[in-house]
């Protein structure tokens, strides 16, 4: 009873706290995490874990969840449209998205579109700042975003249905069921999030004086997931993760007269995982098949399109050995074969093998060290030796010092290598050195994490106009990025009143070494804040986002910027206590009707509303 209450309390208030603190949740019941290395090898870096209670409070697509709850900067081509990130001042292909331990950034363009992912398809979304290429490979330069499905092995039959209806005909249907006992576990679900997205542009009129609105902005994101686990005995278990998704989106117009286009993309991911736990010796084998495709209709009134698709086959063997009580070693072998076929880059296959060694050494409860080294082998490019070196020391109860040094990279994509014309087969990977110091202060109910980092990136790829006007990618740029990240979380109970507050602040300087200019689309400042309150059946929250201005041009022309903006959301829900939980909620998004753009000429909606029903049974 008390346990259950405690659990509920945590669910309610544990917004975006550091993973170190969420241990108490995961330890309550037998839950098998899909990506054990995330926890095991992140003692010296900061991980922000957003669990399902936070996911449910945000708009369905991942852009909103992470924009309002983390220090990652988002560039959105209008609401629900293409959305890419800059994490610690790096490029959109220097943040790796990891699905249950597997890197799923597009093989074609290197990045992930965060508006094609619905947060509710996962049990948790974690944001790990800083380099991670030793474990996660290409693109883990600025940081990694982890989409995890955790399978539980206890007797359970639980259904979760969330229905959303909001302005601009925005509809969300998100369903998940968990069926499990001590041997079997199944998690099956689907999500469908769509909108006609025809919002008015605040105070914008055409030359004829007509109100401007978001034309051709409709989207529909559909995902089905099925995750299965089976425990043969205490030592052997097998898990299968499977997910299929289709995003059908038009592309919103920046002028009323332009040709209406459409972009359809989808993926299919399957991961089979075997875990063997033989005391000192642990094994983990993964086999994954990942398919991604897109079709671009330049004129959506015709059936003509350009396309691209890739199929990746990945196998991974992770052998762990506990050398002494304090020292664990993991050896990881990895083979990846990707076949790409598209109207822009022909038919190509690339094979990459890699070997990595990870060591974790806990000298004491308070002093933890990590070390990792990785090397890739491929014909496609010269691969640098990657490493990671980290240490965490807890000084008493109050203060935890973390140090981390790593070398990370981002490999050229199919577009970079093979685009016809212009693809450059002689590219090197983008490579970076990164150093960070993290200070974690914990006092009573307050946790403050302050991280200073410095990243030196070389061989940054840029497409430049070449001879005869043909654009081609070159390893031209060198960038220095440095800044601070601050994460603050607080929670408190006064009688029946539960309060929680969270905030993030990122200060980012990302300079091209040659020109000494800030990279475009990297804000110097970003702030997020959230407060929540609950009492009995009612809970309410307020979210705030401040995004500093960004330059839109490499030359930092002060006239070519996207202005800073402040956006707030407010929400309240009431649990009628039918079934296990029956919550009816109401949200006002962009409460103060801020007129803002994430990208120039692409206005975002003014004040709008959302209603939801969240059932657990």
């Amino acid at each position: 009873m008390t346990l259950k209450k405690l659990f509920a309390f945590y669910l309610l208030l544990l917004c975006q706290i550091m993973s170190a603190q969420s241990d108490s949740i995961t330890k309550l019941k037998t839950v098998v995490v899909s990506d054990s290395n995330l926890k095991k090898y992140s003692a010296s870096q900061s991980v922000l874990k957003l669990n399902d209670s936070v996911i449910n409070k945000n708009e369905a697509l991942l852009t909103d969840l992470l924009n309002f709850n983390s220090s990652i900067y988002f560039k959105e081509y209008g609401r629900g449209m293409l959305s890419t990130v800059a994490f610690r001042g790096t490029t959109s292909s220097q943040t790796a998205v990891i699905w249950n331990g597997i890197n799923i950034n597009s093989q074609m363009n290197g990045s992930t579109d965060f508006n094609t992912i619905s947060g509710s398809d996962y049990n948790s979304v974690s944001v790990k700042a800083g380099g991670g290429s030793v474990i996660y490979g290409s693109g883990a330069v600025g940081g990694t975003v982890h989409l995890n499905n955790d399978l539980s092995f206890y007797k359970r039959f639980e259904n979760n249905l969330k229905l959303d209806y909001g302005s601009f005909n925005t509809i969300g249907i998100n369903y998940k069921t968990n069926i499990s006992n001590e041997k079997w576990s199944a998690q099956i679900g689907f999500s469908k999030n769509s909108s006609t997205n025809d919002y008015k542009y605040l105070n914008q009129y055409t030359w004829k004086g007509e109100q401007r609105w978001n034309q051709n902005g409709q989207y529909d994101v559909f995902t089905m997931s099925a995750n299965l686990g089976y425990k043969f005995d205490t030592k052997n278990s097998l898990k299968l993760y499977s997910q299929t998704s289709n995003t059908d989106r038009n592309t919103s117009l920046i002028t009323e007269t332009e040709t209406k286009s459409k972009y359809v993309n989808g993926f299919n991911r399957n991961l089979l995982e075997y875990d063997g736990d033989f005391g000192k010796f642990k094994t983990n084998f993964k086999t994954a098949y990942i398919f991604e495709n897109y079709q671009y209709y330049a004129d959506n009134s015709t059936n003509q399109y350009t396309f691209g698709k890739t199929e990746s086959f990945i196998t991974k063997a992770d052998l762990g050995y506990t050398l002494f009580k304090s020292t664990q070693i993991n050896g990881i072998l990895d083979y990846n074969r990707t076949k790409g076929f598209g109207s822009g880059f022909g038919d190509n296959t690339r094979e990459i093998s890699s070997a990595a060694l990870l060591v974790k050494q806990d000298f004491s409860k308070d002093w933890k060290n990590e070390f990792g080294i990785r090397k890739e082998f491929t014909d496609n490019y010269k691969s640098p030796v990657l490493f990671s070196l980290g240490s965490s020391y807890q000084f008493g109860k109050l203060y935890n010092l973390k140090l981390n040094l790593s070398r990370n990279f981002r490999i050229p994509t199919f577009n970079d290598l093979y685009w016809e014309e212009g693809g450059n087969p002689n590219l090197k990977p983008e490579s970076s050195y990164q150093a960070e110091i993290g200070n974690v202060f914990t006092y009573k109910n307050i946790s403050l994490t302050q991280t200073f980092y410095y990243i030196k990136i070389t061989d940054l790829l840029r497409w430049v106009p070449g001879n005869g006007g043909i654009w081609t990618p070159q390893n031209t740029d060198k960038v220095n990025t440095y800044g601070t990240e601050t994460l603050l979380s607080w929670k408190k109970q006064y009688g029946k009143n539960y309060f929680g507050a969270n905030a993030t602040y990122a200060y980012t300087v990302s300079k091209d070494i040659e020109t000494d200019k800030q990279l475009f689309f990297v804000p110097f400042n970003k702030v997020t804040a959230a407060v929540s309150y609950s009492r009995n059946n009612i809970s309410a929250y307020y979210q705030f986002l401040y995004n500093g201005f960004v330059y839109t041009q490499a030359d930092n022309d002060p006239n070519k910027i996207v202005d800073a903006y402040m956006v707030s959301n407010i929400g309240i829900d009431y649990d009628f206590k039918f079934l296990d939980s029956f919550k009816l909620g109401f949200q006002v998004l962009n409460l103060w009707n801020e007129n803002y753009e994430s990208l120039e000429n692409r206005p975002m909606p003014g004040r709008n509303f959302n209603m939801y029903l969240n059932l657990k049974f």
Binding site: T257, T302, Q304, G468
Partner: protein, 350 residues
């Protein structure tokens, strides 16, 4: 009677005087009279128009925005053409033509329908003839190379009134002696259209990769710059009988860029240099009269010769503001202007 006659004479004299006064009057008709526009194509975030006065002392980087505020000129600004006191700015990526007063740059109207990837335009008798690339073959292999057309715009209403299907690709357009001449790099012909009958006449075969062209004394000069081992050429088409002669460039001038005729001389570019020959020359000159000191990665993307000056626009990286360079005819730099993204042309407003 006499008085009336006298009066009439006096009246016509005064009219004449006032007329000639008007003609001689050099008072500017607006802020942007007596200067030139630099059209900045821009990237997917939209283009801009810069203005410099003839004496190069006044310069404004983005006059469209300065005058028209939040109105968006459009994506991929391709060309400006004039008629009377109006200027027409073609935004190829937005299927729109912005109609502005050429002296004040104030927006008057927009041509918003009937256009599909519009490229270049000319005006004859109150009608604009604008080439439209329509679909491209990499998206539409079936008809992408044959669906280009000329949109005929009634400039009184600013509406497309009809189309001339070209059955080929089309890009630059020129009006000479009541005929329209059209080139395109992926078309080996100069198309000939009679605007009066809207009929296609027998085209002139010049070879692929023909681009900039100009007419002088009944001869059409087209610069073509093929890829690979084919040499660049100036193709001369005698319009009276459509006979063709050529000046083939040496290898050192491969991938020639632009051509402009000024004062009986043909000026052309290759790489970052400008060369000149007389219109009667039979061989190309390989001695540069001006060489632009463009930054690394820069390339000539806009070119003109006018008013005893050479105008060069650096395409730049298409992500930052680029520069226009103005030289005198002996090749010494007169002025360097920081314009917008991807400057692609100069238009003289006098």
């Amino acid at each position: 009677m006499k008085l009336t006659r006298l009066f009439l004479v006096a009246l016509s004299a005064s009219l004449f005087v006032s007329c000639s006064n008007d003609d001689d009057n050099n008072d500017p008709k607006g802020v942007y009279d007596n200067g030139f526009f630099i059209l900045n194509e821009g990237n997917s975030d939209g283009g801009s128009v810069s203005f410099a006065s003839d004496d190069l002392t006044n310069f404004t980087a983005d006059i469209y925005k300065t005058v028209n505020g939040s109105d968006f000129a459009g994506v991929y600004l391709q060309n400006i053409f004039f008629d009377g006191d109006r200027a027409y700015i073609i935004a190829g990526g937005s299927n729109v033509i912005n109609v502005v007063n050429r002296y004040t740059f104030k927006l008057i109207a927009k041509v918003e329908t009937g256009l599909a990837a519009p490229r270049y335009g000319v005006v004859k008798d109150g009608k604009a003839y604008v080439t439209n690339a329509n679909t491209y073959s990499y998206i539409n292999p079936a008809t992408g190379d044959t669906d280009d057309y000329i949109a005929i715009i009634d400039l009184a209403t600013n509406k497309v009134e009809s189309k001339i299907e070209l059955g080929a690709t089309a890009n630059r357009i020129l009006l000479e002696n009541n005929k329209l001449y059209i080139t395109d790099s992926s078309n080996d012909k100069v198309l000939v259209v009679n605007p009066a009958t809207k009929a296609l006449e027998t085209p002139v075969t010049i070879g692929y990769d023909g681009d900039s062209m100009e007419v002088k004394d009944g001869v059409l000069y087209v610069l073509r710059a093929p890829y690979g081992s084919n040499r660049s050429e100036i193709v001369k088409v005698k319009l009276s009988d459509k006979s063709v002669t050529k000046i083939t460039f040496p290898e050192s001038l491969d991938r020639a860029g632009y051509l402009d005729i000024y004062d009986d001389k043909i000026y052309y570019t290759s790489n970052k240099s400008v060369y000149a020959i007389t219109t009667t020359a039979t061989a190309a000159s390989t001695t540069a009269i001006a060489t632009a000191s463009l930054p690394a990665g820069g390339s000539i993307y806009g070119f003109a010769v006018n008013d005893d000056k050479i105008y060069i626009a650096d395409g730049g990286d298409f992500g930052s503001n680029s520069k226009a360079y103005i030289y005198n005819l002996s090749g010494s730099l007169q002025k360097e202007l920081t314009v917008g993204v991807g400057p692609n042309g100069f238009y003289f407003n006098n």
